[in-house]
Symmetry: C2
Subunit: 315 residues, 2 copies
């Protein structure tokens, strides 16, 4: 059987881990587009330290841009951060030369598919949610902790042969992968946690999950932010059951203390995903005429804080 | 004429400046209670660098505690910061031995008189608002910029001979002093500026007044916070005219950029006045059943940030 051709664009820790696991199956030929770590990855590939087994991921091809990829890929998997200055269509355009290429977006937040969907109306888009703890600890080195999961779904909802096939490819790996027909629902469910806890962890001066589980004002603010998320989701025809709010509170209370990914990025001086997590949701609220005062206050403060913080740090 | 006896307790930059100007008139004998700078002040007094004229302020007596003060003062002037762990009655009790001593509170915020009023029901309390830019640049050294103003008023409202006398003592000095019958109004007016701009400057990562005048989301948040202040003030029978909101926005836009006092304190690693500026107002809102979501979100985030920030800094 011919191998399935995959091109991973923006292969950071998350991209390297997930598509490295795909390469391990032997059923996919995975190439990567990397920028900052190009030299190291070209020479040595990725070395991945994982609680589910360390492994080396030697991509079939290592490129600086998508244009350099010589083939028509079956899948282009974009795993860059969702940041406003990133022109996602431009990042992948060079490799999306045929309508039979499926575009897979592995990113956080809401509204992250819009630009790509508009730029490539002929291509199927698989919106993907990743549940993973992975960090790039040095060029080409990725450390992954705990379990990892991928949920694939057709952007816009419904069935997808390409989406199901991708999920099946992960069978037998340590990645729990599934295809769902209502990916938007799961995206909002993930946001229900991300929207309160990520911004509050940063705005509160560096709070870990334990510190946000104060059974007091911070938890109350997180709860109220979740209710605002439910309101916007409902306007977008996604009903988030009310009990999810308390489930998130309980989960956060009982999990060993950890820093949110946004806090980790912030403390490392990296730009944080303010727009994908907060901005797009505030704009949806506005479009539907909904009042989300806490969310909007956090959005305003976090945008300013993110800008100031990066101004203060060189680079 | 016998000199009026004044004891200044907690003589930081603001206390030293204002009561130093009082001593300069020759009509008041001003002693001070100081803690951290006791040695320097005992030896050399205060050296005050002011745009309205430098001067030395040599207090009649310098004490470590109010108990050491040997007399019955006409005025005890408390100028410490309004912080929850400061037991204000305890700070002045040693000097308030008679009901003819007037207690003057020069502090920011709302609800800052309650503890002292309860502890000394027989004494008249003069609630005072200070408008000043003054910093302690070294032990015993104070730098004052721009104009300075004091508004005295009887706590609870109405006339006060002691309050009027104090305002009159400032006649001929560079301090613009006045007595008002409705000090609560002016306190809320000052809060209308302080409540948005102080917290937003800190939560936004260190924004100066120019950066907060963005004609965009930050200004909008400040405007909305002011509307929440107006709501609480109205419930406390203080009507803040709606046009004050836009006046504050205009003032802030047009003033040369500066850092709020809360931001200055925060950046110096000092505890900030979260309770006097935000906490007490949120509690008033709660008592009156008012929804102030942005104010409460800022209160929660700023409390957490203040705590975390000081945890991270030694001392």
């Amino acid at each position: 059987m011919e191998k399935i051709k995959v091109l991973t664009v923006g292969a950071g820790a998350v991209g390297a881990y997930f598509t490295g696991r795909l390469a391990q199956t032997g059923k996919a030929e995975v190439s990567v587009v990397v920028r900052s770590d190009y030299g190291t990855v070209k020479k040595n590939g990725f070395h991945i330290l994982s609680e589910c087994g360390d492994f080396d991921f030697l991509p079939a091809g290592v490129y600086r841009t998508a244009e350099e990829y010589p083939d028509i890929p079956d899948y282009v998997i974009l795993t860059s951060k969702a940041l406003p200055q990133i022109d996602e269509p431009a990042l992948i355009r060079g490799a999306v030369k045929s309508s039979r290429t499926t575009i897979v977006l592995i990113q956080n937040g809401i509204g992250i598919e819009d630009a790509v969907a508009e730029a490539f109306p002929e291509n199927e888009i698989i919106s993907t949610i990743a549940y993973i703890g992975a960090t790039r600890t040095a060029p080409g080195i990725v450390r992954q902790k705990g379990s990892s999961e991928l949920k694939f779904g057709r952007f816009g909802g419904g069935d997808s042969i390409a989406g199901r096939l991708l999920a099946e490819l992960y069978q037998g790996t340590s990645v729990k992968a599934s295809f769902v027909e209502n990916i938007a629902y799961f995206r909002w469910v993930k946001l229900l946690w991300n929207l309160p806890y990520n911004p509050v962890s940063v705005l509160g001066g560096g709070l870990d999950t334990k510190e946000m589980s104060d059974r007091g004002p911070v938890e109350t603010l997180c709860r109220e932010l979740m209710e605002e998320v439910r309101l916007v989701a409902a306007a977008c025809h996604v009903e988030l059951p009310p009990e999810l709010v308390e489930q998130n509170i309980e989960y956060t209370r009982n999990f060993p203390p950890y820093k949110t990914s946004m806090l980790v990025d912030f403390e490392a001086g990296r730009q944080i995903e303010v727009e994908a997590i907060l901005g797009n949701v505030c704009r949806l609220a506005e479009r539907h005429g909904l009042s989300v005062p806490r969310m909007r206050a956090c959005y305003t403060l976090l945008s300013a804080l993110d800008r100031k913080h990066r101004e203060k740090r060189p680079g």
